[in-house]
């Protein structure tokens, strides 16, 4: 029991655990749509785009979350806008903006004199250093994202499954698309603190992808994704504590292990599927 209880004696660990659970939940909910829409690459781009926002917030002495959110949402909407306007393929537009915005972040960062200590935490997260204020901001933003999905889950589902059929019957698919990209951006900003820019896409995609290997209905896929996301966050955080390893990376490794396990033994692609076929 001590293995589980001893870390809870530290206030920083309790804060980290709460943050990890909230992030695991929100990422699973939004990630379910991201996986079904095929937007994993956009998630990666938006997370990198948050970097110049974070640096700008530091330079202007503004709140970190605000800087990251503005940069991420602006890039998310710019991807849609440039794609529609230029007629260039979406993955190309994403590639251009992805690299360009991240380069801007590195450029701004390099102009800060004698300030390099926190680069690592921006890139890989700082779950164990999360403050009470960080946690409050995180819970509020997570609440907003979950409420938005709670109101619009039917419309998001219909427009994800069949955008043409949904639009023809009166669902405002274009507006939903923009709103959804904004939700992805906010979700990524929330998760940056936990796992950092480089690994955030895993939080978004891996639990939902694992759930898709196991579920045949949308509701059960989202429920499983939440369970996997939260469990991986908790297990990963404890492992990182006892192994004295980077918390964000450990969480992502646990998620990846769950995905590989589902792939190898799951009912669709793994050992269980083969047994069912031969039976």
């Amino acid at each position: 029991m001590d293995v589980l209880l001893e870390p809870l004696g530290h206030a920083f660990f309790v804060r980290a655990l709460l943050a990890a659970v909230v992030v695991g939940t929100v990422c699973a909910v939004v990630g379910t749509y991201v996986v079904l829409k095929g937007l994993a690459f956009i998630g990666d781009a938006i997370s990198h785009a948050a970097f110049p926002g974070i640096v700008a917030a530091y330079l202007l002495r503004g709140p970190f979350l605000l800087g990251a959110a503005v940069a991420a949402v602006a890039t998310a909407l710019a991807i849609g806008w440039v794609g529609r306007r230029s007629g260039i393929r979406a993955d190309t537009v994403i590639g251009v903006l992805f690299a360009g915005t991240f380069a801007l972040g590195v450029f701004l960062f390099s102009t800060i004199e004698g300030y390099v200590a926190d680069l690592f935490s921006f890139l890989f997260g700082y779950l164990l250093a999360i403050t009470v204020e960080d946690l409050v901001g995180l819970v509020v933003l997570a609440g907003i994202v979950l409420a938005a999905v709670g109101v619009l889950w039917k419309e998001l589902l219909y427009s994800t499954f069949d955008p043409l059929g949904a639009a023809a019957s009166g669902v405002r698919v274009d507006r939903l698309e923009s709103l959804f990209l904004a939700l992805v951006a906010v979700t990524i900003v929330i998760s940056l603190q936990a796992v950092g820019i480089i690994l955030v896409v895993a939080m978004l995609v891996t639990p939902a992808a694992t759930a898709q290997l196991l579920a045949v209905r949308f509701g059960s896929m989202m429920g499983l994704a939440i369970a996997i996301g939260v469990a991986a966050s908790v297990v990963g955080l404890y492992l990182s504590y006892w192994l004295d390893a980077a918390s964000g990376a450990t969480i992502v490794l646990v998620q990846t292990a769950a995905f590989v396990a589902a792939l190898l033994i799951g009912p669709r692609t793994g050992a269980l599927a083969r047994r069912a076929t031969t039976a």
């Binding site: 419309e155 219909y158 069949d162 059929g165 023809a168 019957s169 669902v171 045949v216």
Partner: protein, 331 residues
């Protein structure tokens, strides 16, 4: 049985049926006698527009700088069961998208159910081609049919007993009551088309816009689905469906619209078996109609390849609607 997601056991069925005309094509040609009067926008435009569920005037449309439709004039009465036929790339799907409000035409005017396209969206059910659907998506037959109810429910409201009943009845009508809980990827090609028609039925629309609803399905499914569509038309709903199956168009639909970028012909469904209409719709190709081979030679029709014929109450009036030869396209 376990299938990899996104693969159907009968994927091979979904081949191109452009030239398949079954030997019994002539059998039900007499259906044409029971057709509803054809409305032709060119003859009495004001009357046609007032009585039409679908009305297009001088509509041109396309994607980017590629034109798919040119100067389309069509009026379709309420209660019509209309097949839209034409070769690949003729603009059939584009026409449906314009009517569904999914594509804004370059020029011209479009009215659907008495309003500009897209404004009466909740009274319209659109079913896309099967290739556009992600069949590995984690939804069951029931879930897909229930989506037909979502637009009317709007955000916040959850499905009620009324919605549940509408979905159950729709799935019953298409014969899918036994597969309610099956993930769509595990259904056969025919069952998938049945489920999508159930989604349209569940929405209880006034206008059906169906992109190849019977392509790649077995004969039983085709008959079943056409029975359902015929019943809807009898109840006053308007049904527009694209198809590559000319026999089906001739036998099971009341009227036909032959398009190849422009309107080639519009009238009784038996028109689709008229060699002259076929020639100008499909160009010079070999077709098998009613068990006989018919060689359609484009050469005879050079003079009026873009000529437009208006078929009205059995009469045909040939209007020389000639353009210069250089504008002939797609041949």
């Amino acid at each position: 049985m376990t299938l990899p997601p996104g693969r159907s056991p009968d994927a091979a069925e979904t081949t191109d049926h452009a030239w398949s005309v079954r030997p019994d094509a002539h059998r039900r040609a007499d259906r044409a006698d029971r057709r509803l009067p054809t409305v032709d926008a060119g003859v009495d435009a004001g009357h046609a527009r007032a009585h039409a569920d679908v009305w297009l005037s001088d509509v041109s449309a396309g994607y980017g700088d590629r034109q798919a439709l040119e100067k389309i004039d069509v009026a379709v009465e309420a209660g019509s069961l209309l097949a839209i036929v034409g070769p690949n790339g003729a603009g059939k799907s584009t026409l449906l998208k314009v009517l569904a409000g999914l594509l804004t035409p370059w020029t011209g005017r479009v009215e659907v159910l008495g309003h500009p396209a897209g404004q009466q969206a909740r009274r319209v059910a659109y079913v896309p081609q099967a290739e556009l659907v992600d069949w590995s998506f984690p939804v069951t037959a029931w879930d897909v049919a229930m989506m037909g109810r979502y637009p009317a429910l709007g955000p916040l409201r959850r499905p009620t007993a009324v919605d549940t009943r509408a979905v159950r009845e729709a799935l019953e009508q298409v014969g899918m009551s036994a597969e309610l809980g099956t993930q769509i990827g595990r259904l056969s090609g025919g069952q998938r088309r049945r489920v999508f028609l159930a989604r349209a039925l569940a929405a209880q629309p006034d206008l059906y816009l169906l992109d190849e609803p019977v392509t790649g399905v077995d004969a039983t499914t085709q008959e079943d689905l056409m029975d359902v569509l015929e019943a809807e038309a009898r109840r006053g709903r308007t049904v527009l469906a694209t198809t590559h199956d000319l026999a089906c168009a001739a036998q099971r639909f009341h009227t036909v619209l032959a398009v190849n970028r422009t309107v080639v012909a519009h009238g009784a469904s038996s028109l689709v078996l008229d060699p002259d209409v076929l020639a100008r719709t499909y160009g010079g190709h070999l077709l098998v109609v009613g068990g006989r081979s018919v060689v359609l030679d484009d050469a005879h029709h050079h003079d009026d390849a873009h000529g437009e014929r208006h078929f009205h109450e059995g009469h045909e009036t040939r209007r020389a609607h000639r353009r210069d030869g250089a504008r002939r396209s797609g041949r």
